[in-house]
Amino acid sequence: MPEDPPLLQASAIGKQFPGVRALHNVNLTLSQGEILSLVGENGAGKSTMMKILAGIHAPDEGAIELDGNLVRITNVREAQKYGIALIHQELNLSDNLDIAANIFLGNEPHKSGVIDRKRIHRESAQFLKRVGLEFPTDTLVADLTIGHQQLVEISKALSVDARIIIMDEPTSSLSQKESEKLFEVIRDLKSQGISIIYISHRLGEVINLSDRVVVLRDGENAGELVGGEITHDAMVKLMVGRDLSQFYNRTATTLGEKILEVKGLRTPPYPNNEISFSVRSGEILGIAGLVGAGRTELLQTIFGVTPAVGGMIKLKGKELMPKNSLDAIDSGIVLAPEDRKRHGLVLEMSVRENTSLARLRRDQKVGMIDFNNEAQLADKMIEELKIKTPHSDQVVQYLSGGNQQKVVLGKWLSMNPSLLLLDEPTRGIDIGSKQEIYKLMEELAASGVAVIFVSSEMEEVLGMADRVLVMHEGAITGELSREQLNEEAIMQLATGNKAAA
């Protein structure tokens, strides 16, 4: 007698984006009432996989079966019909509508076009009860906290009879308490027979919650863990493809003069918080914290793209208040921004034009571009940083994430900076490039550059930083030396719990 087919079976899924192979031969199964976690580094393909299941992307290859029947999910509505709901990291609720209207948005029961309000509110109340949210159904969504809004999203999924609820980084902007509440709801849904696919970077949560874990790496299946096998080390090993000790080998360094000193700096989004710290030559300083902690804004202020509200910045002992990025660049501060495509590169220009963009001013001959020099510079950077491109005239849009990031770094290294700011330097790039970027950070530090990097990847912070500043709501909540570094301490500080450190 054959076994019952699983609720969901995705086999040999492949997906290609211009210049990137997002997924290749990925398999995934899910049983009824199971909590499956999908983990992997940024760019490993988790989100793409989920978007395929939810009908946002169509797979190029592979098959999806539900209850053993082959299905083709071509849009979100169809996914809903099959009982699959995706809850995005960025919630998709309409702030200006009340809870009930949001739950039934696009699915309003009506009598010849007129919405049946009574039914909406009556049924919404039942869904809210199932997720343990005790609010009147006519509360405006704008008046709810993010945690509560998330529960409204889940209610919305329940309203379309979802059998599979996919949650993409649901806790990324939740407080500890809200997260725990969410976990309770998830377990409750499981007991009601609903299957959950849970995507998270927070491995602690994953261990806590999952029946099974599927690990993706570079768009392929890297392994699967069940029950007791689900440990922090096992997951990380699958995620990075080797032992951590081989991956990060930052060794203690001798520090030089003070390169950057920040005193009482106030950034536009948090004008009431004063930030003070310093970095020395040869040092790699990590800045950790949750999304929205003000880390990116801090780097942007030092780089001059969002001028400071107050405070002081000293570079090599000289006071400096950059009004724009040109001021910062001219004094030796450069930034590889978080949003590479929007801020770091001119996507439709070539590798050559991108690497020279900041340097053109220096190399100009009475306003004219020195084309020979420009080509040489590009070739030099391609060789030094091992940028994989057919030639320097390739448009950067068609390079992989890792190579794009190397182009950004090439642009800045050609300027011989004294302070290198990196905002999520390895987001969305493959393991190989990642390791090369870590090596580069070390080499630059060894050559006397001061490096500050912001990262949401715990492993990276633990592995690369000589010292870590943790931020919470625009303020530095603590500083950890290499000896004090551990995930627990960082998380405590990142959620605003100063006493723990």
Partner: protein, 326 residues
């Protein structure tokens, strides 16, 4: 020469050949002289607006700036101002107009469409008010006449007119600026990705202002050329709709309204295509009432073909990349 320019050049050759074949009067010296002259005038405006379009902006005020400059020139001549001084002042005025547009767009952060639409209305109104909306004639007798509307006989009846020489000079400078100088590169970069350019230390506001200044300045130059060419100015009509021809030439010539793309030579040929179409419609005997429709269709066809080709190229490229990876 890029693919787009080759495409538009082929279109030009096609229409040129067809008209030549269909009408014996097309290729005579007189008609050719006019065709080159008017194409040059359109191309000068087109180059101006190309700079603005490259930044991702738009300038709708060109026709009204032309009208204003032409009207003021006529007024000054009527009042016996020194022609040279007048010309210098009018070019200065057009620079100031561009500067105002640029400042409103970058510093006050108004949309280019809105700023220059208001410009379109404002300058036209001023022209009509200052001249009492009277048509003004000025006989081509003053000293600058041969400079702005002279002719150089080449052979037979074919002559090259002043606007052509203006265009050659302007096009050479513009192409050099766009392709050889760091500011041209910056302009293309900011048109593609303004934030990306800003994060690379480029002072994007200044460059955008410069683009609007160039555009208005060239509109001013065109205004002088038109006025001297026609020896008559109608404040309500001179230059009317010309911004649309200029924008059409820039777009057909390979500037994307999304910004970041542009080739001077393409704009010139595109301007010539538009003039050539008008000429052909006349000579072939198609109702001139259809003129706008035909020009509209040709431009639409041109940009559609261009978009299709781009898509095919992009698809092939991404396929090549995936093939090389697996």
């Amino acid at each position: 020469m890029n693919k787009n320019t080759i495409g538009i050049l082929s279109l030009f050759v096609l229409i040129f050949g067809f008209t030549w074949y269909s009408n014996e009067n097309f290729a005579n010296g007189y008609n050719m002289t006019n065709l080159v002259k008017w194409s040059s005038l359109y191309a000068i405006m087109g180059i101006g607006v190309a700079f603005v379009i490259i930044t991702g902006g738009i300038d709708l005020s060109i026709g009204s700036v032309i009208g204003l400059v032409a009207s003021l020139l006529a007024l000054a001549i009527e009042n016996e101002w020194d022609p040279t001084l007048t010309v210098i002042l009018l070019l200065g005025l057009s620079i100031v107009i561009g500067l105002m547009h640029g400042l409103l767009i970058t510093k006050v952060k108004l949309q280019p469409f809105v700023v220059t639409l208001c410009g379109l209305l404002f300058y036209r109104g001023i022209s009509r008010w200052l001249t009492d909306n009277q048509t003004m004639q000025f006989p081509g007798t003053e000293s600058l006449d041969s400079f702005f509307s002279g002719k150089l006989l080449i052979f037979g009846k074919f002559a090259l007119a002043s606007p052509f020489f203006f265009l050659v000079a302007i096009a050479l400078i513009a192409a050099f600026f766009l392709n050889r100088t760091i500011w041209g590169r910056y302009l293309l970069a900011l048109g593609n990705n303004e934030d990306g350019a800003r994060y690379s230390g480029i002072q994007t506001d200044r460059l955008k202002i410069a683009a609007y200044v160039i555009c208005s300045f060239l509109a001013g130059v065109s205004g002088l050329l038109f006025a001297y060419e026609l020896d008559s100015v109608q404040p309500a009509q001179t230059g009317e709709f010309y911004e649309l021809y200029a924008i059409a030439a820039a777009v057909l010539g390979g500037c994307s309204l999304r910004g970041g793309q542009g080739a001077i030579f393409g704009v010139i040929i595109a301007a010539a295509v538009i003039r050539l179409l008008r000429n052909s419609i006349n000579l072939i005997g198609i109702s001139t009432h259809l003129e706008f429709s035909i020009i509209g269709l040709v431009i639409l066809g041109g940009v559609t073909a261009d978009e299709m080709i781009k898509r095919i190229v992009a698809k092939r490229r991404s396929k090549q990349i995936s093939a090389s990876k697996s």
